[in-house]
Amino acid sequence: MAKTIDESIKAQGGSVGRMSYVRVIFALLARDLAVLRKTAAFFVIRVVMQPLLFVFVFTYVFPKIGQGVGGGGSKEAEFSTLLVAGVVGISIIFQAIQAVALPLVQEFGYTKEIEDRALAPMPTWGLAIEKILSGAVQAVFAGAVVFPIVLFVPATPVHLHIDWPVLITLVPLAAIVSGTLGLTIGTLIPPNQVALIFAIIVLPITFLGAVYYPWASLTPISWLKDVVLVNPLVYINEGLRAALTTGVPHMEIGYVYLALIVFALVLGYVSIKGLNRRVVG
């Protein structure tokens, strides 16, 4: 030490005192955004690759080589259109899981990097809410980054009809549900089994999430139609279809909101409990 310690230390406990938890949450969000900004290029690559390839192969390559999904002609155009919601929805949920669950594995790992944030002056539930919001913000970014791809890559025209009130309320709600899902996964799955997240959670959610077909079209397989109702992505995608398109069948929008709110509350509760258990010994 070159110098003796600053006099300011004498003023013990001076500068902090009581302060609002909201301020702490915003500071934690600012930290997450700083990290995101630093890795913006990776973020975009991570978000874009899967939907880009998917849309390219199924709505550009297939129609061009005469293997149109949906049956050719106007059906192809319909497929491109119904896929818009599915691909945006999958990007939202996938990104939120990645943004919340994966860092937690490191943060709770050997070094307990989370500790400095867990020791910020607010209760642990504040940290849980911050994680959920951070995941939600990144999920909305992901949805926004992917949106132009599904509009401009398909070979057949995409017909959008945007219902703004639904879009503006549904996207944040979907993003928050995705954030709670990410935090639930991140706090319940042991860090050393992270590869399991993809095998047992992410893959079923995405393949059975009404991404590539509207939920209503599952009627011929009625048991599956019922089973997939436990999948939050089904409601996200059905809601996005209501918000973005006409002519594609979708679930009654009231049920979509109801289900997403229930998911947000239940997963929010489970994930706050889970984080608390992991942070406080």
């Binding site: 030490m1 930290r31 630093k38």
Partner: protein, 322 residues
Amino acid sequence: MNDRSDVPTAAVRTVKLRKVYGNNVAVDDLDLTVNGGEIFGLLGPNGAGKTTTGGMITTRVLPTSGQAFVGDVDVVAHPAEAKAKIGVVPQSNTLDRALSVAQNLYFHGRYFGMSKRVAKEKTDELLTRFRLEDRAKLSVSALSGGMAQRLMVARAIMHEPTVLVLDEPTSGLDPQSRLALWDILRDLNGAGQTVLLTTHYMEEADELCDRIAIMDHGKILALGSASELKAKAGGASTLLVKVSGDPGELIQKLENAIGVDERVKIVMSESGVKIIGKDVAQLISKVVSSAEGLGLKVYDLSLVQPSLETVFINLTGRELRD
């Protein structure tokens, strides 16, 4: 928070603080007071309950029963308020690896309610004070162990906590970094910072701490300044005997020859056989003859003045580092 006003200067206080993991009582109804302005050390072997005690005081471990206060804040009832009053340097490197050296400080300041400007100023000031300014933009993974430790201390004091809590702060540090950290802690304490640290290094407790609580099996066995504790050992000193051959036989023989009771204890250590008690110097001839009787060659015999380790062995019959 009914009985908090009896010790107005207490920076930390625990009342029958207890933590049980399964059948294991890690901390056993601990009553502890850390006074404002002192460096207080919890000294004990691994598994004594030091880290768990520190964890409960700093809201990271939930007590099974009992209370802990930082200043006048009950840490269990009001963890958020308590967190504002504590600075923590944990045993492992908990620096935020996604952030640079400077950002680790800047965002810590922001978490604790500083404006952007204040957080920036404080960051620059701390980087200079802790000689890290030329690493400001580097990733924290580029820091040496000693530098990382300095950064963790800087981060922990940034929000001017009532008490700075360090868990085994120098374990794993090279001797030079350890001395540097002691200097930092002395300087901070000189400026009025209360410090609570856990350690299993007796020299660390001896050198650094105003008061020391010797802890084992979740309980405090003795409490006082280093010199008080040594005096409590009743002037016991240590006779260190090094022999060629199996010291186990020697210990057995000595136990018979000398007779072991509360006043004399014999333990085996890495460095040799230790005989601890009052007037152990008088036992030298018995030791030598016992060794010779066994055909063992005594190649070193020394009398060590009372140390905290003597105190610990005197209290527990065991070595501190076991």
